[in-house]
Symmetry: C2
Subunit: 283 residues, 2 copies
């Protein structure tokens, strides 16, 4: 596995691979790699000639007062992880190389970026779409891999790719969970012992709600949301940012009768740690 | 020459060309082709294996009340023009194919998009950068060709390409002029007989100002701007939107001493027709 830290070098390699008809899989990450990322990398190595893992803690997607500085950066560990799991390239550019001092260009997916997490993290998705477009242009992937845990992000990236005609397939992979149900996340390390013990309840409540909807015990969105919020707020130190039943494609929240398929989206703070999760409700 | 009207078909052709190691030149236009476009196409045919001319009157770059509907669309004439001048593909997509009803994604180059024409045409450059990025992703060019007549547009596109890491060379070509000096433009057809007779004075005044600066008869920007504006306002039916001396890279307008190289940028209305022009002032 080759570690590439320079943007132009990575692009040169990618363009050369493309001209030699190799298919490229890209796994864009912010590092602190876990089994969620592993599932993306494994799928990429099965589906492409070459797999590139990018590690870049993207300042453009963090707001003021967020955890940009304290975000975990265990580079050596990540490097071994990528190597062990058959990545061909680890692309880890510097902030300066990605965003020159004179940087001015941003991509925004309107509407989809403005609700849910977008409301609580203004500018976040603009930072995500901008860096993902840059990574596409640098790495020239045929296929890119994203986890369903960041469900709104996934929908926004799909929309950007479609709107801007990027010749890239977006492949989404199911959320990987701890044995007790908590969605794997690089931010879980922020949780203290008690918070960690309680954090699995989020998934259990989402699952229970989805089940009640699927079995038609609940048919009204408002009732489902109320059930969820009451249950969630029983978790100590939990403050809910949003808990909604939405259309899985447009992400529009359902207001009256729930129409399946649907998706439950959740974000909240457990103590000081922001956690998100979501679950599918099938037809 | 093949005419392609479908976005996915054009992209499929371009990706196939790329995989067979052909170099692609793209000339993005809004049609109503003239000798300015010809200079771009001619250079592309010399420098690339395949040249694609795109013709698309891009609604996203027109503001309310602008000339989107009346913009000339002589498609048959343009088609013959492209064929005669050795284009390999004429890509002419429909508005519906470029912007689906659910379209949401826009690219903005901050600051550079906000002054000069950006001030008088809010949203214009956002529309330009968005459509150009789409055309890049669809046509996969190695080289693209833009005229210097749209100098601010050129600077903004260069900035976008650099910031977003598009693997595309931007090649700028000198403004082509009528024999009396008027910059060739698809919008010149809007001028009536008398306006057309007066329109060449814009270039003459810009040239005279550049000359006075180069020969150090004028060294202060404010004085040069005053000289230009007084001269321009003597043209009947002329209202000046802006006339500035600026840095040719950052486009920042010079306020005190003029530092060379510089560029004079002009926009104004002659009757109801909006005209722009610019001129280099060499060191």
């Amino acid at each position: 596995m080759k570690v590439v830290k320079n943007v132009l070098e990575m692009q040169k390699i990618a363009l050369k691979l493309k001209l030699s008809c190799k298919t490229i899989g890209l796994i864009p990450t912010m590092g602190a790699l876990h089994e969620g990322h592993l599932s993306l990398l494994t799928r990429s190595t099965l589906e492409n000639d070459v797999s590139i893992v990018s590690i870049f803690v993207n300042p453009a997607q963090f707001g003021p007062g967020e955890d940009y500085l304290k975000y975990p950066r265990p580079f050596k560990k990540d490097q071994n992880f990528c190597k062990k799991n058959n990545a061909d390239y680890l692309f880890a550019p510097s902030v300066k190389d990605m965003y020159a001092e004179s940087y001015l260009t941003y991509i925004k997916v309107e509407k989809l970026s403005e609700f849910y997490c977008g409301k609580f993290r203004p500018g976040h998705f603009r930072g995500v779409t901008t860096v993902v477009a840059k990574l596409f242009n640098i790495s020239q992937p045929n296929n890119t891999y994203f986890g369903e845990k960041d469900f709104q992000q996934l929908a926004i990236i799909k929309k950007m790719v479609n709107d801007l005609n990027f010749p890239v397939n977006i492949i989404s992979c199911p959320t990987i969970r701890e044995t007790d149900g908590l969605a794997k996340s690089s931010r879980n390390v922020y949780l203290n012992h008690n918070e960690r013990k309680d954090a699995n309840k989020i998934h259990l409540i989402l699952k229970k709600t989805a089940n009640k909807i699927q079995t038609k015990q609940i048919t009204f969105a408002a009732k489902a949301v109320k059930f969820m919020k009451i249950s969630l707020l029983k978790i100590p130190k939990m403050s809910v940012q949003y808990a909604e039943i939405c259309d899985p494609f447009t992400l529009c929240s359902m207001k009256k009768n729930i129409k399946l398929p649907a998706r439950i989206l959740f974000a909240g703070l457990l103590g000081k740690t922001r956690l998100i999760d979501n679950i599918e409700i099938r037809k």
